[in-house]
Assembly symmetry: C2
């Protein structure tokens, strides 16, 4: 009755597994001879990166925008998702006439290393054993993800990015790009993020991992071999995480104590309250599209992120001498990556006299606001990109058309 | 390796089970002929209430203080806990010379109905089947808990309480006492609580329940019969809940990103960070002393609590005509039961011109502050009780001694 996964028609798990092995995306394979050196000291080879592009790269190769996805996002920014059939996760932001205008910019988004939508991750085949890596997959850091993205750009023969942008874990990648590849980043937009993962956020991630690992179907990480999946554990992990993506106010406004399709409480453990029903739905739809080991690996990547620690303990050092233009965005009701965390980034950038604008957007939608219909966010991004494009000498779509391009 | 329950010497589960069946407390048994009518429409009989007392009831029976415990508390307020061997959960508050001075007051604390320390709960034997109730146990509301406490007072022949006090779920019971038994409550101290459980709090509880229920050892609630226990699920539930008891600031101050007994991260899923190690410890020590079904039942009791809804949709109605003196206490960094929730109680009391004082205590310790060494809390309680005692005509211990009592 109160099983999180009951009363729900499972999608065909083959749909999701197919995207891991043979994604409906472009895929670049890096051969055994060109391994990726990882922060852990391990190296990974061969490896693949799956990616989507939108718009057209101009002749000068000066209009490339790299979008970095968040923990449970993927490369399907602005096209129908091949597993869920839903719209891309940021199709309000990226597309023709959108703030990230694909009539003007060439947008790239790759599934992060460690992910489960076609890039190499813990559920990929380990060439040494012929079985899925499972826990033999090396721990991937945010910097490793960015290194893999840089390899993708090399492959695409794009020397540098007009802009790199993303929210949450995507924002961590943005910061890492600006720190590690400053000459390849003209503009950077870290949104609702932090230069280091907080104690509370590590704690929430640890709960999620323990929920997955407590599920006997996890099988010590080897569930694929046993043709099982820690669905219940991953659903619980997602439910806990999902609460942190919303604000108390948003939950109150959206659900309050409203009952779900009933007049009074049932004096039982059914989902009496709308918020319970919503949360269960979030849990079980997530497991249809995400891999449990990717989840625990990528939460670890975020936990390990500490850009100051990587630069002698001082965040400003990470940006010393930068010529990148930054636009830092936070949301008032985001308690996962509160304004304070974002302001620390701004302060570090100010300390090195970087070109930075900072916008705290009034919203009661919590951390998820960066994915939602937030006009002030769209205006901010649109305005910042247009100004940066002028500096970069990019023509507007109408100018390009007039010039017959 | 990363199993939440590995590397931990289990206590003898018999220790805990013994307290459910045969507690080291006073126990009053209510016979089949005197059932407890429940909000659900069910009735419960027979039933037992286990309780502790401290101090001496005076001849006028005018010095009784009822302490109501929180979700995972129990009746062992100020004595060594029979399972953990640790000090009572509020022994800084209750005892000789403490704010709730047992030289002056007669303190009673009972294990709530639905609990697992000797009062009847889901793991008690169902007389109809001869097996543990499991999910056949009726849902218990906060009002039902209070009804059972009133029956205990009847049994003890204590007509009314000098004071009823408690934090969190204990505070909900305090409010219910003041609403349902106003003539039996001289003073009331609800601490860090709310007159109704919020959407976000219901959501966190739902995650905890789903974590327990996802554990195959839960066995649909029938784990006792199978001689199992959903230890992993309950540990995950506790870990998630524990984060909500602390503040972001407290976690940052206490742990930050400090590593646990190591110089650098291990690039694995061990508890690299102190906060992870702490959280795992909280999870596995909790399962040693608490029953999983009691946990899911009592979270449900809190979810259902909505004192305004029980009084025609207006909280003030619950207190109309009250002569009880109230002292409402909140903590600045408590995000589970924020000051705003406590202020709503105060506003309702003001609306009926009740005698109420309200103190918001500056603390960065989050919800747990009410259990911790908070001098301002102690002073507040001590001062409020002394003033109320004067009104009640209770003598100070020194006066009593002078009078040869």
């Amino acid at each position: 009755m109160s099983d999180v996964l009951s009363n729900h028609t499972q999608q065909d798990p083959a749909l999701r597994l197919a995207q891991m092995q043979n994604p409906e995306s472009e895929v670049v394979h890096f051969a055994k001879e060109t391994p990726l050196e990882l922060d852990s000291g391990d190296s990974l080879a061969p490896f693949s990166i799956a990616y989507q592009t939108y718009g057209t790269l101009n002749a000068q190769k000066s209009n490339a925008v790299l979008v970095c996805h968040a923990l449970t996002g993927d490369q399907h920014v602005a096209n129908t998702h091949p597993v869920t059939g839903k719209a891309g996760w940021w199709d309000t932001m990226v597309g023709p006439g959108r703030p990230v205008d694909t009539d003007r910019y060439f947008v790239i988004c790759s599934n992060v290393l460690g992910g489960c939508m076609g890039s190499t991750g813990p559920s990929s085949l380990n060439p040494e054993t012929g079985r899925a890596y499972g826990l033999d997959f090396p721990i991937i850091t945010i910097r490793d993800m960015v290194r893999a993205q840089a390899r993708l750009l090399d492959h695409l023969e794009i020397p540098d990015l007009f802009c790199v942008m993303g929210g949450s874990m995507g924002g961590m990648q943005v910061l890492e790009w600006a720190a590690s590849y400053r000459d390849r980043v003209f503009a950077a937009i870290p949104i609702a993020t932090a230069a280091r993962h907080s104690s509370q956020n590590i704690a929430f991630h640890e709960v999620g991992r323990q929920a997955v690992m407590a599920d006997p179907d996890w099988r010590g990480g080897g569930y694929l071999e046993h043709d099982t999946s820690p669905r219940k554990g991953l659903a619980v992990a997602r439910m806990a995480a999902h609460i942190t993506y919303l604000s108390d106010e948003a939950l109150h406004r959206k659900f309050g104590r409203n009952l779900q399709d009933r007049e009074r409480v049932t004096f039982g453990f059914d989902a009496d309250f709308q918020v319970e029903s919503y949360l269960r739905h979030q849990g079980y739809t997530f497991v249809e599209r995400f891999d449990a080991n990717s989840y625990i690996y990528m939460t670890r990547s975020m936990d390990y992120f500490d850009l100051a620690a990587d630069h002698g303990g001082k965040l400003a050092n990470a940006f010393q001498g930068t010529e990148t233009r930054f636009c830092v965005v936070s949301f008032t009701s985001d308690w996962l990556f509160p304004t304070e965390d974002n302001r620390e980034i701004v302060q570090a950038l100010n300390a090195v006299a970087a070109n930075v604008s900072f916008v705290e957007i009034e919203s009661d939608k919590g951390h998820d606001a960066f994915l939602l219909d937030e006009p002030e966010l769209f205006e901010t991004i649109s305005g910042f990109l247009s100004a940066a494009a002028r500096r970069r000498g990019l023509r507007r779509p109408d100018e390009a058309k007039e010039a017959g391009m």
